[in-house]
Symmetry: C2
Subunit: 454 residues, 2 copies
Amino acid sequence: MERCDVAVVGAGLAGLTTAVDLVARGHRVVVLEARERVGGRTTGRVMEDGHTVEMGGQWLGPTQDEVLALCETYGLRTYSQYVTGDNLIVRGGTVRRYRPGEPRLSRTAAAEFVRMKAELESMAAAVDLERPWESPGAREWDAVTLRTWLTDATRDDETLAFWDFLVAGLFAAESHELSLLHFLFYLASGGMLEMLLGVENGAQDRRVAGGSHRIAEAMAASLGDAVRLSSAVRAVEHGPDGVVVHHYGGVLAADRAVVALPPALAGRLRYSPALPGARDQLTQQVPMGSVIKINVLYESPFWRTSGLSGQVAAPGRPLSVTLDNTPEDSPHGVLVGFFEGAQARSAAALSADARRALALECLTEYFGPRAAEPLQYLELDWSSEEYSRGCYGGRLGTGVWTAYGPKLREPVGVVHWAGAETASVWNGYMDGAVRSGRRAAQEVHAALASTVKH
Amino acid sequence: MERCDVAVVGAGLAGLTTAVDLVARGHRVVVLEARERVGGRTTGRVMEDGHTVEMGGQWLGPTQDEVLALCETYGLRTYSQYVTGDNLIVRGGTVRRYRPGEPRLSRTAAAEFVRMKAELESMAAAVDLERPWESPGAREWDAVTLRTWLTDATRDDETLAFWDFLVAGLFAAESHELSLLHFLFYLASGGMLEMLLGVENGAQDRRVAGGSHRIAEAMAASLGDAVRLSSAVRAVEHGPDGVVVHHYGGVLAADRAVVALPPALAGRLRYSPALPGARDQLTQQVPMGSVIKINVLYESPFWRTSGLSGQVAAPGRPLSVTLDNTPEDSPHGVLVGFFEGAQARSAAALSADARRALALECLTEYFGPRAAEPLQYLELDWSSEEYSRGCYGGRLGTGVWTAYGPKLREPVGVVHWAGAETASVWNGYMDGAVRSGRRAAQEVHAALASTVKH
């Protein structure tokens, strides 16, 4: 049986940050990763043209200070998301151009949207990011779905459809699949709607040279053989004297463990003794979003020559969001697109061929016939990824924050919890994952420092 | 490696019924059970007076034909729940007597309640029990919580509190923790509200002599050494040629498997290949209810001599429901009580001593000072039971039925699903568990019969 000070479960950004921080404080750490790669919900794929494209979380933006600092630490350059040209919106079956800043909704819908946004953001500003369940309106906001609030607030179909489109873009879930409180928390956690949804100067502002997965790879490289791939954890024995972690590569003993998995997956490990009921029941109800991400490689970024940025908003269409995802140094063109929420579930039920055809049909509708002839079509259905089971993250439905909120982060004895879902700031984002890792490392360091060794 | 025709995971009523039915059709079956006992969410405990009392699901009622038939098959007698005397309701801080059939609410609340009940039951009558997601109102009903419907339907606090009390009694969850569609489905599945909530001639009509767990024990006895205790399943390899099930007692190969666990627990097994995304995501969002069941043994059933039945409805009180749970042949008296939903979560956070004191305080409020002096206090927090993780059953929040409904029962290759949560009729009840087992056995038998052996 191998021994170390801290066993970290999961080599996504949260787990790796935990490990790097603890190693820097002099602790011996081993990171157990189920996959044959690190990076969790960030991953890259090499396209036929030899360039790498991001198949998972990819964008960084202002105020995401922790993940930006990591890039700097590891010498990873970032570059701006391509935004030159007009964007497209699909409205009433018609594809329309608009420039960033120009209205993309009808006058009525735009006014409704602005009013509702102000109201939601004013509520969100009252949410306590550290303890959302103690916010003044928490009980009331947690008893209804976001959808209920939206339909109570407007009767305008275009406005509602636009909200549903935005919500799916944030959560890969429908507005009736999360509580109003969760939505408000998430708004506040990421700095409100424009920051979350914005491209230039928003959460989609920049990309990492070579792909965002290089952050995790750089951290893993710095940890050397402390990171063990293909070592899925089966069971965690825990007690006042430490943990014994059973994984597919062996058995690891440590003083403390940090489980850096989304709650839904953390709940699937076998713990002895079994975890308290409340912690377990939390993990029964933080489902992951449904999303299929596609990247389509073209001979050239032909949309650019038509003065288009590649950015599409298509409420109600299967592929409801696209952006230009051409790597900075590529002579070719790449469009990235997302099937989200209900659209992802429908698309997942199709054959691979039919799904590809559907995606290309959407792209052709938006960008014309050249979109029908790609060099390569790549897709990743995150729901079927055994070690993620969905993206972008775990969401909380009605009642979960107020009944189980404290259990997201509260350690159980010597077992600690990290992961983007446990973050107060930038919850659900790469930056939140990094922040959660720093917080978990601090917790563990403090606990180890206060423990008198026998 | 052991071989059989069908591997059944879980020796609750669903798994055992599956096994018994398949054995009767000539198949070789092995049942793998994680616990050291069979019965799942039914279990008994021997009290200090030597009599056995039910700590889990216990009552049977009319139209629960499948489980009643099982009792007959195994020679298990049933007897009537004790109902003689007045019931109590706690209203506005006062304990009041009422006779069954007499109004227990104020005139206003009673009228509101009747109106809402009629409206809900009329909607429920339109739910397709086999395919709730295809019911006419399904999309609309699945987008809101039951709480939203209730608060839209009345502004009367007493009525609302009474509904919340009833809902907690059915689901061990709050009305904002389930979708309206799930509530309507559940109403229809069990034969509407009076059937579900009723004692005499309702779902709480009768008890099994010796305890309801004797049903599972009798089935297990008939299966002999085909039932393996302490054999928690870790992993299920599956493919067109069969399954290989890895459990703590060894390895079992079979042509087909039936996983007879609540969805939340079924999702925690490791499947190779990994299950399709939609099935997996379903299991991420069927959380179990929160309930602590207590049985309190007294020298005598002293409430009976005061003309009380032992039945209490105490909306908003920690111990909101009690009944007389004296075994038929006992000279002593037993009161059973339930902490449900939010009350269970609060009570679980207390020390064992404080929880006992709280329960006895409630019983004393209802039944007077003699209730403070029990011979024995027994409790079971089902949320902390590793192999149930909550009771009475799994519930579906907003959006789950319409997005994932078909995945509750749809087999994945040679892996089938059973359990009370998969039942169309008496979903969540012992009878539903038995029905699900019969259905799964039929599925498997048909599949095996149609397979040409190589």
